[in-house]
């Protein structure tokens, strides 16, 4: 009797959730038809070599990319893309929270794909994160994640990346970034990397001035221009003869 009651209760609780899920997918399908279908094709099959109104309309298939990729691209404002072939950049998110949830649910329903990751930076180790970040990420993103350039693209600064987005980008490899599978960077290591990137947003500047965190060249310039000028000025003052005209 008690078991039956529990079962009934569970059904009562789960039914609306399941309903909301299918409702989201339906709503997401509508939104997909409005914003995404021109480049990503019907049912997320992708478009290659497409044109519409004289403009390129091409996009990768979305079958199997899962909630992980859809959530990343929509919440960073990478999608919808202004112009096909351009690098997606972080921009204002034009969709509402409910619309994003619906689209993510729809894209996730297209095929078996990874869910949205839930990194736990507090479980990671900062020093391991620094080492992993230097090994895998700093080549492009710079060691305190200030971003950088490579031929054909930009490695964005990570100052606005949320923990979830960092974990997602590692797995997706947006635009020209390599993608790292759980075999190459384990979820535990992702926790450490996220912890380090969060730290790098406000690093502990023991020396005082950060001077943009872009390394020893500007620091040297400041030393030469400020300190050396002051020293020369002091020397001139010391060498002057006073009251002897």
């Amino acid at each position: 009797m008690r078991r039956l009651l529990a079962f009934g209760l569970a059904a009562l609780v789960l039914a609306p959730a399941a309903h909301a899920q299918t409702g989201d997918v339906t709503r997401g399908r509508h939104l997909y038809g409005r914003y995404c279908i021109a480049c990503h094709g019907a049912n997320g099959m992708g478009v290659i070599g497409g044109r519409a109104e004289g403009q390129k309309r091409e996009g990768p298939p979305l079958v199997g990319v899962g909630a992980l990729a859809a959530d990343f691209y929509l919440r960073t404002g990478y999608m919808p893309l202004r112009q096909v072939g351009k690098q997606p950049r972080r921009s204002r998110v034009l969709l509402s929270e409910a619309e994003i949830r619906a689209l993510v649910a729809y894209v996730a329903s297209l095929g078996h794909g990874p869910p949205v990751p839930r990194p736990q930076p507090e479980r990671g180790s900062l020093s391991e994160g620094l080492k992993l970040f230097t090994d895998h990420c700093a080549g492009c993103h710079q060691v305190v994640a200030q971003g950088g350039f490579l031929t054909g693209g930009v490695a964005p600064p990570l100052d606005r990346a949320t923990p979830t987005q960092i974990a997602q980008a590692i797995r997706i490899g947006p635009y020209l970034m390599p993608r790292f599978s759980p075999r190459q960077i384990t979820p535990r290591q992702v926790d450490s990397i996220v912890r380090y990137v969060l730290y790098a947003k406000h690093p502990d500047d023991r020396g005082g001035w950060a001077i943009g965190h872009i390394g020893p060249v500007p620091e040297g310039l400041v030393t030469w221009f400020l300190a050396a000028t002051t020293l020369v000025a002091v020397c001139i003052v010391l060498g002057k003869r006073l009251g002897r005209e």
């Binding site: 990768p60 080549g139 031929t151 997706i172 020209l176 390599p178 190459q184």
Partner: protein, 331 residues
């Protein structure tokens, strides 16, 4: 207690009576060492004030040091010590300029002690034909010539002239396994598309120029290897020297397109000067200052699935120098 009081009274007296001369005791002579300079009682006060400020700053340094965990602790420490030195320097400057008397005295040349010998020296100098002017020109020439030589010396670093053999030595021979930084051998099925790996020659010095490799995997259909690199891949896995052929930096960047039809093609990029190499075409230079392709290593997969070298690089590893293309790598 009385001593401290006496000290205070003395300090007050000196401060109030600054600028005034000490009264001479009976029988004492006026100690004149230099012409009297205009006295500046204000300068005295300023100097003492600066010295006290210096002392206060130095004490502040100690206090800040003890009070650990202040915000901007390091900066405050630096500021305190810096101010202490600045105040000290200022006090010494004021003292030297305003308080210490200055006097210029003329002194006649001493009379010649050995006129005959000096006469002879002058004669020798005249007979040698060396004039003051000539000596100066000679010294100037020596300075200019030496500086020119010093500036030209680094030309020797532009390229190795001797002992070229060690530049073509590599640890790779037929059958050498590829290992990770920790010495674990790479299995072919570990290498995934869309990312890149760093590998080393098993048993070799990791710091050696030709030891490090960058590994990528491309779909076999995308490979477009030139005839001389035909068959260098192992099931789509490609291995290149990690050292850029331009200035010898490590190739640390791999760009891979998210969506091949619209994005730039896969490439290995050197972060120093953005030399860009296309792995699908055997490491051909497609952008940047590098003058020759990235050396490629032929790979094979052994019976247990491990990656092994199938020979040596197809060209010399490392930055380029005069005549580098004539060299072949050896083991």
């Amino acid at each position: 207690m009385s001593k401290a009081r006496a000290f205070l009274v003395a300090a007050a007296t000196l401060l109030v009576g600054r600028g005034r001369r000490r009264r001479l005791r009976p029988g004492e002579r006026e100690p004149i060492v230099a012409a009297p300079t205009p006295r500046s009682p204000d300068a005295e006060l300023v100097a003492i004030g600066l010295l006290l400020a210096s002392a206060a700053s130095a004490i502040a340094f100690v206090v800040i040091y003890v009070l650990d965990r202040l915000p901007a602790h390091t900066q405050l420490l630096g500021l305190a010590l810096g101010l202490a030195f600045v105040f000290l320097a200022a006090a010494l400057t004021v003292t030297a300029k305003r308080l210490v008397p200055n006097e210029e005295l003329e002194d006649d040349y001493p009379e010649q002690e050995h006129p005959d010998e000096q006469e002879r020296v002058v004669q020798v100098v005249e007979e040698s034909g060396l004039t003051r002017r000539r000596l100066f020109v000679l010294a100037l020439g020596a300075a200019g010539g030496s500086i020119g030589l010093a500036l030209l010396t680094p030309v020797a670093s532009l390229g190795p002239a001797l002992h070229l053999a060690r530049f073509s030595l590599t640890p790779w021979r037929r059958g050498t396994r590829l290992v990770t930084e920790d010495g674990e051998p790479y299995r072919a099925d570990e290498i995934e598309e869309g990312t890149f790996y760093t590998a080393f020659a098993e048993g070799a010095d990791k710091e050696a120029l030709a030891s490090s490799l960058v590994l990528v995997r491309l779909p076999k259909s995308e490979l477009d290897l030139p005839p001389e690199n035909a068959g260098f891949d192992a099931d789509g896995i490609l291995a290149f020297s990690k050292i850029c052929t331009h200035a010898g930096c490590a190739i640390a960047l791999y760009r891979k397109p998210m969506f091949a039809p619209t994005d730039p093609q896969p490439a290995l990029i050197c972060p120093c000067h953005y030399s860009t190499f296309e792995p699908a075409k055997g490491g051909k230079v497609i952008f940047g200052p590098a003058g020759r392709k990235l050396p490629m290593l032929p790979l094979a997969i052994d019976g247990k699935g491990f990656l092994r070298a199938r020979g040596n690089f197809d060209g010399p590893v490392g930055p380029s120098w005069w005549g580098v293309r004539m060299k072949r790598p050896t083991t």
